[in-house]
């Protein structure tokens, strides 16, 4: 099925070049496409929609440690695109998927393939920040619109931002900075900070300190294990030696599971109050952490149990379709698809005029499962609410319950 679509879209390129401006669902284009495209007829698509499809390149990790993130983003996008019948701005949407493999060099190669060989109209995905930084210049120089649905490094909204790059996920600052003050007021006056020692981890700790220290908080120590660390026991012992009242941590994926299990086994989660950026206890790792995660406070821009009509509809539909609970990554995929579709609708399906499409996408705003969604017009990064959540027993499940809204947060990038 995917093959049919690809074949159809390859034919469509020449047609589009020939018919030039007719791509936006002109009658002539529709007629020609209707004759030459068995795939379109096979799908039972109305003739008007048979104009050249919009090609979206989806570049996420399907392998290694972050494989689940890529699958969740893809599932979220699928759910939204199914809902709009894979059409936007009067054109069909097709996608070409590639594995980013959490390797910036592979990411660059795959992005080049999608942009130059496949000729995609839009690019989306990107799980890892190093990949995002590595493909930034290529995307910017080729004026390819990129909708980032995970990678959260601050620079993509600051020194390395591009008008062609939109981000529907978060920056590390957005998640951790609002929490520092709340931590001081509600958790403890002193803290030990720990994080996986790489860009996003240290950025998260720096953001936390930005509001924690001015409020009067004191950092009594920092412990930075390497990324993808195996045994956390030695680090837990170091943290315990510092005798913290409370800790703020950044870990994700397998690191989060290993850290929390060791922290519980060595009694750290009992002796001090544990908090961390929301990814540490998000749905992709929470079932594996189990009881070790109970009681942990974490800031994030979404929670599975967030009470609003959009989230109830989204989480129910997701579970019915994929037989598992949604995650923040699935939500980001869902919203990335929505931004693409609504942007295309506003631009009348015209992907050739990049600046017009950028303008149309910047103006997209809607009620997202995370709360109101809008782009910062200066940085094209999402402005969103950040919630304080706590891991609690909800019925038979363990889940994050959002109980404080820290307000609408925009990254300070200008």
């Amino acid at each position: 099925m995917g093959e049919d679509r690809r074949v159809a879209s390859r034919k469509a390129i020449t047609r589009r070049t020939l018919l030039c401006g007719a791509a936006g669902a002109g009658l002539a284009g529709a007629a020609v496409a209707g004759i030459g495209s068995p795939a379109a007829r096979g799908f039972g698509v109305p003739a008007v929609l048979a104009a050249a499809p919009v090609k979206v390149g989806l570049l996420v990790s399907y392998s290694k440690v972050y494989g689940q993130l890529g699958e969740d983003i893809t599932a979220g996008m699928t759910l939204y695109l199914d809902g709009v019948g894979w059409t936007a701005g009067g054109r069909r949407i097709t996608w070409i998927r590639e594995d980013e493999e959490i390797d910036p060099q592979v990411g660059v190669r795959k992005a080049r393939k999608l942009i130059e060989a496949d000729g995609v109209d839009l690019l989306t995905g990107i799980v890892a920040t190093p990949t995002a930084y590595a493909i930034r210049d290529m995307v910017h120089n080729s004026k390819t619109i990129l909708v980032v649905s995970n990678a959260g490094g601050n620079l993509l909204t600051r020194a390395r931002r591009s008008p062609y790059i939109f981000r529907v996920s978060f920056t590390s600052w957005q998640v951790s900075a609002p929490f520092g003050k709340w931590f001081y007021d509600n958790v403890a006056r002193t803290a030990v900070l720990t994080a996986a020692n790489y860009g996003f981890g240290t950025e998260s700790l720096a953001a936390f300190k930005e509001t924690f220290v001015p409020a009067g908080g004191r950092v009594t120590g920092e412990v930075l294990p390497p990324l993808n660390n195996t045994d956390y026991a030695p680090y837990i012992a170091q943290i315990q030696k510092l005798g913290p009242e409370a800790t703020y941590n950044f870990y994700s994926g397998s690191d989060a599971v290993r850290f929390l299990q060791a922290a519980q086994q060595y009694g750290l989660t009992k002796a001090s109050r544990t908090t961390g950026a929301g990814f540490m206890v998000e749905q992709d790792v929470l079932p594996a952490e189990g009881a070790a995660a109970l009681g942990i406070y974490s800031p994030l821009h979404w929670a599975l149990t967030l009470q609003n009509p959009e989230n109830l509809a989204f989480t129910r539909a997701y579970k019915a379709r994929f037989k598992r609970d949604a995650s923040v990554f699935a939500m980001q995929g869902y919203d990335a698809a929505r931004v693409i579709v609504e942007g295309l609708n506003r631009a009348g399906g015209n992907t050739a005029d990049k600046d017009r499409l950028v303008e149309a996408m910047t103006a997209v705003r809607f009620a997202s499962p995370r709360g109101p969604f809008e782009f910062d017009p200066n940085t094209h990064n999402v402005i969103q609410s950040v919630y304080v959540r706590q891991v609690r027993q909800v019925g038979r499940d363990i889940a994050n319950v959002a109980f404080v809204n820290l307000g609408r947060i925009a990254d300070p990038g200008k």
Binding site: D231, A233, A237, V257, D284, G290
Partner: protein, 287 residues
Amino acid sequence: MTFYLLQALNGCAYGMLLFLLAAGLSLIFGLMEIVNLAHGGFYLLGAYLGLSIVRWTGSFWLALAIAPLITGGAGFLLEWPFLRPLYRRTHLDQILLTFGFAFVLTDLTRWLWGAGVQSLPAPRGLDQSVVILGTLFPAYRLFVIGAGAALALGLWLGLVRSRLGAVVRAGVANREMTQALGIDVAAVFTGVFVFGTALAGLAGVAAAPILGVFPGVDFEILIVTLIVVVVGGLGTFSGAFWGGLLIGEAETFGKVLVPQAALVVIYIVMAAVLLARPAGLFGGRAR
């Protein structure tokens, strides 16, 4: 002082897991001169099988007993139809085959068990912490140290005292001569390969409560295991044991004493050992 004693205990528990992994790899290499790069894959397979058995039966001990048997069966499926015809070919061909199977196992486990991070809780009774030297220490890690030491002793006795062990040692020392004595070396090869992969499966279940189970852990663990085997001496059983402990302690104390350079400490240890004894700690004695 207590801080460092506790860290030594931590290193010991980690070292025992490394020993379990290295023993299988080293035994296979010693006898067959094949570096089984699919060893990490068998580890992961064992861990996932353990996970499923615990989910079905609720018993960790059943998982610890059955998962290695199935993993050994999978080892048989690699050795008998695929590896056996390659014994007359070069080592490179054999290594490429096991490398290919490493990827097959990665994809197979991912297809069957998904891409998510999963974990296996420690069995009831061992899922709590005990007070040692005034600090909490997880009971499961104490169990790993005890069980690892007991298993090492049992394996060593089996290798040194039993007739089967004598055959294996003879095969390691001189393959042709052993064959000339009328021993079916091919059958011994199969047996040792199955046993080695079963040990990897056992390590997978035993390590799951500490290291978790997820795609990618197979190659992560393969690299450390290769280091242990090289440090201890290729193909020697004692090397796997002492090499595992040395690397376990080195990594733990590296993280404590020089956290900035924690990743390179085990490589420095490896380089130092190889400079002093190019064949590894116990290499050359048994060969």
